[in-house]
Amino acid sequence: MKERFQRFIHQFGLPRLIILSFFLALLVSAYFLKLPLNSLVSDTLVRTGMNGVLVLAMVPGIHSGIGLNFGLPLGIVCGLLGGLVSIEMNLIGINGFIIAILVSLPIAAVIGYLYGLMLNRVKGSEMLVATYVGFSAVSLMNIAWLLLPFHSPEIKWPIGDGLRTTITLTGKYDKLLNNFLDFKIFGVMVPTGLLLFFLAMCLLMFLFLRTRTGVMMSAAGINPKFAAATGIQVDRARIIGTMLSTILGAVGIIVYSQSYGFFQLYQAPMMMGFAAVAAILIGGASSHKATLMHVIIGTFLFQGLLTVSLPVANKIVTEGNLSEIARIIVQNGIILYSLTKVSNGGD
């Protein structure tokens, strides 16, 4: 019995078990604190859907062998650019959303390609370099946000230079996906469109990983020596993975923003990569293995944890933002944990 229990823990992963029990404990305390559980569940669903694509962006990176893509902000700023163009064109509804994605795709593809070229030169230090490339991209874009020639009054500050810090999507495509076919069950609002979009992206990823290119890319990521002996061009596979990851980052931020209701410029994208990395790790992935299940479970657990902890914490301690602190500790704790696993040579 004890042995079976241990094996269960081993298979399930200790950190995930801790986080899951923490999550359940929060739900129970939320119940006893008489917090509205149905709205908490709704929020969790919404946040899972809105973050899901960003987390999914980790998958091609891990499969192609570049590991956890800490450079996700690179893709995010591409998505933001696309979004801004769609607003500048004053597009509304589904058109705006689609144009935002279509504009950001080629930008993300080009940036992803260059980024992939760079990552091929820093094999072994991808994570560290990627982190700082992401940071510098965000801070470079800070300058760009001040200088880019957008004219729409919704984008620019009414007085002074530069673009607004947050750009509202109200009247554009705010909650476009969330409200698509949404319905209420047991008081829980289900954002059908949002979840469907997320699952559709997962399905596309699933199909891609089964194409010849996808299979070869994964082989290159799992075992570069094997791939080289099979005649697969490892560097090319890594570039494909990086490009896909960057593109998904761009799409991900647009999905995120339409649900959030705003595009956030300047410092906002800085730490988003870390959240996505943490989510997939919580789902059970490692720097060289990730499945779509990891994405879905991880996003749900991490976002659920954050959603529920906020009101619970506020009920217990009114001061400060305990939920934010929990996020910092959980997010970085799980990344730290996975780092210690990598170097111990453990699978």
Binding site: F135, S136, Q331, L339
Partner: protein, 437 residues
Amino acid sequence: MTDQNKPLLEDVKTSVIRKPTLNLKQIAFDNIVTIIFVVICFFGLILAKQPAAFVMNELVLRIARNSFLVLSLIIPVLAGMGLNFGIVIGAMAGQIALIAVTHWQITGMKGFLLAALISVPFALLFGWLTGKILNKTKGQEMITSMILGFFAMGLYQFLFLFLIGTLIPMDNPVLVLSGGVGIKNTIDLKDGILYALDGIYKTRFFPALAGFSVITAVFSLFKVFRVRKDEIERVRLPKYLMYTVLSLTGIVFSVVVLNSKSLVAMIKFPVATIFSILMLCAFNLFIVRTKLGQDFRTVGQDMHVAKVSGINVDRVRIISIMISTVLAAWGQLIFLQNIGTLNTYGSHEQVGMFAVASILIGGASVNKATIGQAILGTTLFHLMFIISPFAGKNLFGNAQIGEYFRVFVAYGVIGLSLGLHAWKTQIQAKRKQLGEE
């Protein structure tokens, strides 16, 4: 048989000794980051159009304020653990001690020394824990120490936002938020340790620089003559020649400034602070010459060989991180006594990044960092910090651009240096594989 082969061995021998040659291309490539930076600073200075006295004054101030933190990075590099982004944790230890002495209302030099003392056990403990974790992530130390810094920030916020006033009783309306739980966002140190070290004694900068330059000039000239004769030590000749030239320039520059009657000549500097920095430099130089220092170097160069020859690798690595953490705690105290306000939840945030960026700008890399690089880097980095808002304003009419620019440069420099280093390592590994005849 032996005699017959002697000449052949002689032939090899002469080819082995490296002659002190100057390969400009190679030097430029190795110091590309520094060179780019000098260029940026040069154009920045032109664009900023600020009076020299202002720039110099700010620069001296900032060097005094930041050098200690940057120097605290050197020992882990020596021990092969890369750039210790985890000095953030040391800074936190310093701030914990500082909050304690502020709470007890011990002020001035007494408060500063007490804070320095209290920070030591905290820093040692944190350093030990950091070292433990870094030993589990060999080869990924830098990213681990960075994430560890973020993680520690969460714990730190938890301590000061929630434990103070709940688990840790603290009845101090000046420090604690109005609700009785948590420390305030900013703490004014004006009635605390502000200028505890800086204020002891200030004197004019350029006479001191002239004096210092004379001493180094004499020392390096002496070295030049000694090294010149020795066939092996001659490798170091360019280095000492450079020191000589630099210190002579220092003398000339100081004399010119002092005779120019400009405001620049009147710039003062905090003697005690600079002295403590010099002491740290001396400490670093000393440690390299000890058995411990030799162990650092051995472990840093090849962990496997170190282990085989009986060195307790993990222990040596932990010690290096502990020293670095303690130094960072003190460095943060020096920084804060000059700034005068403690931003409880923010002062430490950028410490690691700015220190790492500084030392990299000075030409250091993941596996090599010297005192000279630390000081040069701090100078260049803060020169850019001073001038970039002005340059931004004059160029684009927007000071904000300059501010974003310097943040971009800090991140960019770290990304670029680490990327270049990784690339070089990759190329070397390939070459080694191919050239193994």
